[in-house]
Amino acid sequence: MKKLTCLSLCLFLLSSAFLFAGGGAETKQKVSLRIAGIPEATGNVEGSVFMASLKTKFPDVEFKWEPMLYSAINEKMPVLMASGDLPDILQGNVQTYLPQLVAGNLIAPLDEALAKVGKDIVANQRDGQLAFGQYGGKQYAIANQYLLKYFAQMIRMDWLEKLGLKVPVTMDEFREVARAFTLKDPDGNGKQDTYGTSFRQNVNFIDSFFHAYGVAPGHHQAGMWRVRGGKQTNDWVQPQMKEALLNLASWYKEGLIAPESLTYDWNNWWAQYLQNKVGMWYHQPARLPEMNATLKKAGVENAKMWPIDPPKGPYGQGTTNEGQPWGTFFAPKNVMKAVEVFNYTYTQDFYLASKGQGDAYYAPKAEVGANGWPVFYTAAEMADATSNYETRRKEIMYSKVWTSFSIENPSQTKNWANRDLAANVSQQYKNTQGPETTAGNLLADKWAMTTTKTVPVPADAKYFVNLQTKFREMASQIVSGKNADQVWNDWIAFYNANGGPEIEAEVNKLIPVK
């Protein structure tokens, strides 16, 4: 009897253990992955095709979407880092934050995860893209696929034609054209209310006018660096910078640059071009179809902002390649799973499942093509006021999580291992690009100059903000006509006393001259 009781008890315990084990497997805890993206506005990310395809592929993962608006990223990132509670997958500015994130062990090195579960990320990269996420010999971030190389000098061809002018080549010719744009009423409204060119609050986004002097502010990067005399040097303190600023000062004094643009934010700056008031533009050719279409919609029938070679100056010519300051970081806690998820978004399966919604500038149509591949709007459809492109673009832009396949030039896919994917994505982009974008991208390829300081250094964290503020102050003051010698000398003294030499020493130590 005792034996029977013992046997029954053992059987009961065994079956219970078995049942509980089985039950445990069924109710296995999902891995929770927090994803922080940086959209321009928040849309329906949770219900998007993008997120749905992730959820289908990874039923064992619970995705939590934590958007940080692009406009607030400069405030949110430092606070997020200070909290020490970083999302598992985090988009951010690699140039700015990599040293702090690494120093604080807030992000994981990715070399092992990429080798094990990140093969598609590595295989479908463009040339040198991974380098933008490396620090201290390790891979810490995956730079976004799109490349901010594509900046070009643009000019209103219709204005040139109307005034009987040739396309300018030299800085002097640009000045003559700017003078005509300012004084000869190119918009034909009978008022003298147009300008040669414009600033965007400071001198940062008019780099083509600086490269003519062999220097550049470098857009919003941590300076523009070049090798001079066998050393890494910062353009911000070269004597040619003063010459370039004096040139702009003389333009400004003559009234060839929109007078209020030194205080314009992005919206005001963009608006004056759309309002047919400014003739020379330095920006991304990808935005050209939108600008020309908007001008035409506003009644400027022949509007033709078109890319040309940047002005040729005494020390050369060029445009700025920002490289890739934006990328994705991974917190240490769930790095393997997070990289595995991220890797999936670099595959053809994901591209098809998400119907192409991993793009930077363009939006795919809701319906896929007969071959199952996404179909993008053509340049003509984008420009057509009656198409639903703009609505669709906003819907897609605000509901995507990140941008694995976003390219601005078909040539960016040349190294992708998946040739089928590369061919299709390239073809789609060829269709989307109008002739002005194609022409602009070719010029950007020709003239783009890249800073030799591709990654940040630790001293940036302590000194860079002050130096950047002072540089912009100095540049604005010289342009607006203050005593250039005094302002320049003060700036050089400030640079030398406030971390400039320390940053230079670290750059030369960490990024050797090749």
């Binding site: 400069n74 405030e75 430092p78 606070v79 880092m81 200070a82 020490g84 702090q100 994130l101 120093a103 604080g104 062990n105 807030l106 209310d193 609050q201 400071n202 007078p259 209020e260 030194l262 205080t263 964290a461 302590k462 860079f464 903000v465 002050n466 503020t469 912009r472 102050e473 540049a475 604005s476 003051q477 607006s480 400030f494 006393a497 406030n498």
Partner: protein, 305 residues
């Protein structure tokens, strides 16, 4: 003690709704005003990402030394003091004057209309207000420059002018906020007994004598309190106002402690350094409140406590 406690609980039961409402305010103060005090400790630490608040190393007064060695600190301190001083000199007495003038207006409809018109700008956010200002001050299309040009003058780029920027800050502050303070002074004036004025008139006091001997003493406690509070904020210039209106052209005269703190701390991530600056700022404010309260107590018999 037990009796006091019983009396207190009786009060709570009797006025539970009032206590409930007060609790919400107290909780707000505790969470947003007192709990953050604890984090002032990082002013004495080298706060490092990842190590966090607890584990970052102590560096004593290192952040304060760095602050006092930073030439930018002296620039923003000077700008802050000048702008605050100008605001105190202009924006502080103006609402008092306005309230006194309005108090003397007997036409009620006119008084209320003026009161409403000057109060409305207080409710407009600085973002909207700055857009209106930019439009008015625009060198190419602004109303003010149109007037200057019509009179034969040369347009002025006000928002980018070092000579004008501080004046714009003071005047825009005056126009936006003086209505609010005027209402406070008018409320204080409402408490002055009408019979005192009538008696003064019977005694032959003229308008200026009534203002000097009745109106001003009547609102003196409120003036004193607001003055002490303003002095306590001497190193705090309206961040929103400056941040929205300034630009690199006027950093040299418009960059203040709050904007500097924002760039260094929030954008630059130098939390320890900017906490040290914040602590310095608060300490000066505290000293100003204590000392001005003491001085005003001696001089006028009015004060915060």
């Amino acid at each position: 003690m037990t009796e006091k406690w019983a009396a207190f609980t009786r009060q709570v039961r009797k006025n539970r709704l009032l206590f409930l409402m007060a609790t919400a305010v107290l909780v707000w103060y505790a969470v947003f005003r007192y709990v953050p005090y604890w984090w002032n400790i990082i002013a004495f630490k080298d706060f490092q990402w990842g190590l966090g608040f607890q584990n970052s190393p102590w560096i004593g007064l290192g952040n304060f030394r760095a602050l006092f060695r930073d030439p930018e600190f002296y620039k923003v301190l000077r700008n802050t003091l000048v702008i605050s001083g100008l605001k105190l000199a202009v924006s502080f007495p103006f609402p008092i004057l306005l309230a006194i003038l309005l108090n003397e207006v007997f036409h009620a409809a006119f008084r209320k209309t003026v009161q409403t018109v000057i109060f409305i700008p207080f409710f407009i956010s600085w973002v909207i207000y700055a857009s209106i200002l930019s439009a008015i001050l625009s060198p190419s299309s602004g109303m003010l420059n149109f007037l200057i040009s019509s009179l034969g003058g040369k347009p002025i780029y006000f928002l980018a002018s070092e000579a004008w920027f501080r004046a714009i800050l003071v005047i825009s502050d005056l126009l936006k906020n003086s209505g609010y303070y005027t209402v406070i002074y008018l409320a204080a004036l409402a408490g002055v007994d009408e019979e005192v004025y009538e008696a003064a008139i019977c005694d032959g006091a003229n308008l200026f004598q009534r203002i000097r001997h009745i109106t001003l003493p009547g609102i003196a406690p409120v003036i004193t309190i607001l003055f002490i509070l303003k002095l306590g904020q001497i190193l705090t210039v309206d961040f929103e106002q400056v941040y929205i209106l300034y630009n690199p052209m006027v950093y040299s005269v418009g960059d203040v402690i709050d904007t500097f703190n924002y760039r260094q701390g929030i954008q630059g991530g130098r939390f320890s350094y900017t906490t040290a600056l914040g602590l310095f700022n608060s300490t000066i404010g505290f000293i100003m409140v204590l000392s001005s309260n003491w001085v005003l107590q001696k001089l006028t018999d009015n004060g915060l406590w």
